[in-house]
Amino acid sequence: MRVRLLHFASFREAAGRDEEEREIADGTRVSELWSALGKQVALFRRFPKMPPAAVNREYAAPDTVLRDGDEVAFLPPVAGG
């Protein structure tokens, strides 16, 4: 199955793109997707723990199981205002 992965701010710069489609195994959890990304992008490995994640535009716990077509984003530290 496939998910759509969005990158923002410093994560976008590290990933070198603002979005990508990714093929993942059935039952993949959010935290597992983060670990897989860390194998590709050095910046992501440097995080001592997984940053906040959003699935379909809502905050999602690390153990959330992903579904086909989900929109997923890992969020760099928020600094609005």
């Binding site: 923002f8 959003a54 535009r57 969020l75 928020v78 609005g80 205002g81």
Partner: protein
Amino acid sequence: MAYLTSSPIDVPAMLLDARSSDGALCLFVGVVRDENEGRRTTAIQYEAYGPMAESEMARIADGLAREYPAVKIGMKHRVGLLSVGDASVAIAAVSPHRADAFAACRAAIDRVKTTVPIWKKEFHPDGSS
């Protein structure tokens, strides 16, 4: 309601939202300042995860409406490239009495800064960011 805007925030317009039962208005405006952590700033680029930022701000508004039922809240956050002195965020809270107008306004900006997916990139006089 659209909480995000790429145009300048019309702050005076946010003052006009009081009902006849409101005796208190508390307005907070966040402004781009010329310095952060000891470095001069010339501009800030605000980037949002737009649809999620809209729904997070709606969620914050809903939460505040439950916690402060007498208060009516208006919120705007600007995105794009802002200069020193530009308003990046504005929150207006009107209420019959001032205690909960202040409390709801303060809670709103604290939550916006914590949970809404918006990021800043600062630009410095030497062109770095």
